[in-house]
């Protein structure tokens, strides 16, 4: 799945602009955290967090509840500031593109605006970027199709199930084609079947756009399936105790011995495994039965959305 790119799409007028060249690693990191410390009043939430993320890399943050993972994402998103240390997000040429956002954040709660339909919720970031209405709608619908919600475009959040809500929230973060995507326990409310479909979709999007992602999870399997490296958090105060690289070829199947081996070893590193992954409910019917997520043929959202087709691919 990973290599399905690009000339035909460029002809079709898609704007898929890969900016991370996977062949050219060891460029300076896109995200660099050094000695990050954060307290809320007397409560030390983060102490001396160091983390570097290369462009195009997927990083998992794993650790027990309350150890400051969400706080760290808030800092990465620029919604909060650290008390100590430095956070730098390297400049990149691609950040100035219209309708593309540098950092998008999928919060732990879905935060769908109750007064907006699914369609309008997903469009929020594009409205901020002042994307004209036609392109906006087009991109929104492509995104909704991707997460299997196109039939619910006109529904209000209260009419959705928990899993559908989190898919809508994911669509809202992806539609702005972020350079860096932050995800806080994005798939924890999905049934296992939909969850693995969403994993595949995320990896697709990642393969096509070269987006950088940092996600929080309590699920060791999820971490190993998705991430290039896993940062293990220890609590009180929150800090990263170990960064485990996951150097397995994609797609990674849970049937693959190397993958299960890696999962077991990571479980061992979390030793007391404070947060077992939620029990899989395979017996329950899949969220939104009949959901079919089409493989990513036309890139993510850009297909045919642009007034002027054939936008050139940018070279770094």
């Amino acid at each position: 799945m990973s290599g399905q790119v690009l000339p035909s799409q460029a002809e079709a007028g898609c704007r898929i602009i890969p900016f991370a060249d996977h062949g050219l690693k060891k460029a300076p990191p896109l995200i660099r955290l050094r000695g990050i410390g954060k307290s809320f009043g007397p409560l030390r939430v983060l102490a001396n967090v160091d983390l570097q993320v290369q462009a195009g890399e997927i990083t998992a943050l794993i650790g027990s509840s309350g150890c400051g993972k969400s706080t760290l994402l808030n800092i990465l998103a620029g919604l909060d500031t650290q008390d100590h240390g430095t956070y730098t997000l390297a400049e990149s040429k691609n950040s100035e593109k219209a309708g593309r956002q540098r950092v998008a954040y999928m919060f732990q709660e879905d935060r769908l605006l109750p007064w907006r339909t699914v369609r309008d919720n997903v469009a929020l970031g594009l409205e901020a970027a002042r994307i004209e209405k036609k392109e906006r709608l087009c991109r929104v619908y492509n995104m909704l199709k991707l997460v299997g919600l196109e039939e619910f475009a006109g529904a209000f959040p209260y009419q959705l199930s928990g899993g559908m809500r989190s898919r809508a929230a994911l669509a809202r973060s992806l539609v702005v084609e972020p350079e860096v995507l932050l995800l806080d326990e994005p798939f924890s409310k999905l049934d296992s079947q939909t969850r693995s479909q969403m994993h595949a979709e995320l990896l697709n999007i990642h393969a096509v756009t070269g987006m950088t992602a940092v996600f929080v999870t309590h699920d060791v399997e999820e971490a190993v399936v998705l991430a290039d490296k896993v940062a293990i958090f220890a609590p009180r105060p929150g800090r990263i105790t170990e960064i485990v690289p996951v150097e397995l070829a994609r797609p990674r199947s849970l049937l693959d011995k190397n993958v299960t081996e890696q999962i077991r070893s990571l479980r061992g590193k979390l030793c007391f495994n404070p947060h077992p992954s939620p029990p899989p409910d395979d017996s329950a019917p899949a969220e939104g039965a009949g959901l079919h997520v089409s493989p990513l043929k036309g890139g993510i959202t850009g297909k045919g959305c642009r007034a002027s087709p054939g936008v050139k691919r940018e070279s770094l």
Partner: protein, 252 residues
């Protein structure tokens, strides 16, 4: 099936009220309680009075202007008080005082200040409805969810966009509830104001009817007013509410 049951119930209630009314009215002098037929006659002659439309128009205009000014001022003040904690703390006693002053007292002041004029009624409507609007909007601003504001910031929405896309939709239900309450209130106090501070309008005609002990006239006006309010409720407010707040789960 369900609808027809409801209609039947309403008709039964109406018949019951009419029967009781008729029975009671046949036992007392008609200036105390006029019978249904006398009221019906008064109603039809009322509709044919040459000044009828003028009176209704005058009252409507006064209520409308007073309410509109109150909604504008109340909303502005409510937003400002919602935005600034210090100002809210400072102004809160004033709001409390305004809320306790009776509309009759405003009416008396209005006559002293403006005499028999449109302005008197407008002022009474304004003074009684403005605090209601202010309080509703102010309470609405307190319900703005910080998480949504954070979300908007994460998408780089400007302050103006946050105001329009997060604050306004959050406050709108409170604004609407306040406006509905205030309009009903303004409409009722306007009649009180007109009975003493105007030389035209529905309240003025009511006063005339009272002076001449024309009870059937008073009843006719009352029925007209009730019909008017029901019409506004069913024809304007309900549809508007349904359209504006489709996003709310229905309570059933």
């Amino acid at each position: 099936m369900k609808l027809s049951v409801q209609v039947a119930r309403r008709l039964l209630l109406a018949a019951l009220v009419l029967a009781v009314w008729w029975a009671a009215s046949s036992r007392v002098p008609s200036f105390v309680l006029p019978g249904p037929y006398a009221v019906l006659q008064a109603f039809s002659s009322l509709l044919h009075t040459p000044t009828f439309l003028q009176d209704v128009g005058a009252t409507l205009a006064r209520v409308g202007i007073g309410f509109f000014l109150a909604a504008a001022a109340g909303t502005a003040l409510g937003v400002v008080m919602g935005a600034s904690r210090a100002l809210a703390d400072f102004l809160e006693p004033v709001v409390a005082v305004f809320n306790t002053v009776s509309s009759a007292i405003w009416a008396v002041f209005a006559i002293i200040w403006f005499g028999l004029s449109d302005a008197s009624t407008v002022m009474v409507v304004f003074m009684t409805t403005m605090p209601l609007m202010l309080t509703s909007v102010w309470n609405g601003t307190k319900t703005v969810d910080k998480q949504y504001v954070e979300l908007a910031k994460s998408f780089n929405l400007s302050r103006l966009q946050i105001l329009a896309k997060i604050y306004v939709p959050t406050v709108l239900p409170s604004f609407f509830a306040g406006a509905r309450l205030a309009f009903g209130f303004g409409w009722r106090v306007s009649l009180v104001a007109e009975t003493i501070g105007a030389s035209s309008g529905i309240g003025y005609r009511l006063r005339q009817a009272a002076d001449l002990i024309q009870s059937s006239q008073v009843f006719a006006w009352t029925i007209l007013l009730i019909m008017f309010m029901l019409l506004i409720e069913a024809g304007v407010l309900k549809p508007l509410e349904n359209a504006l707040f489709r996003w709310k789960p229905s309570p059933e």
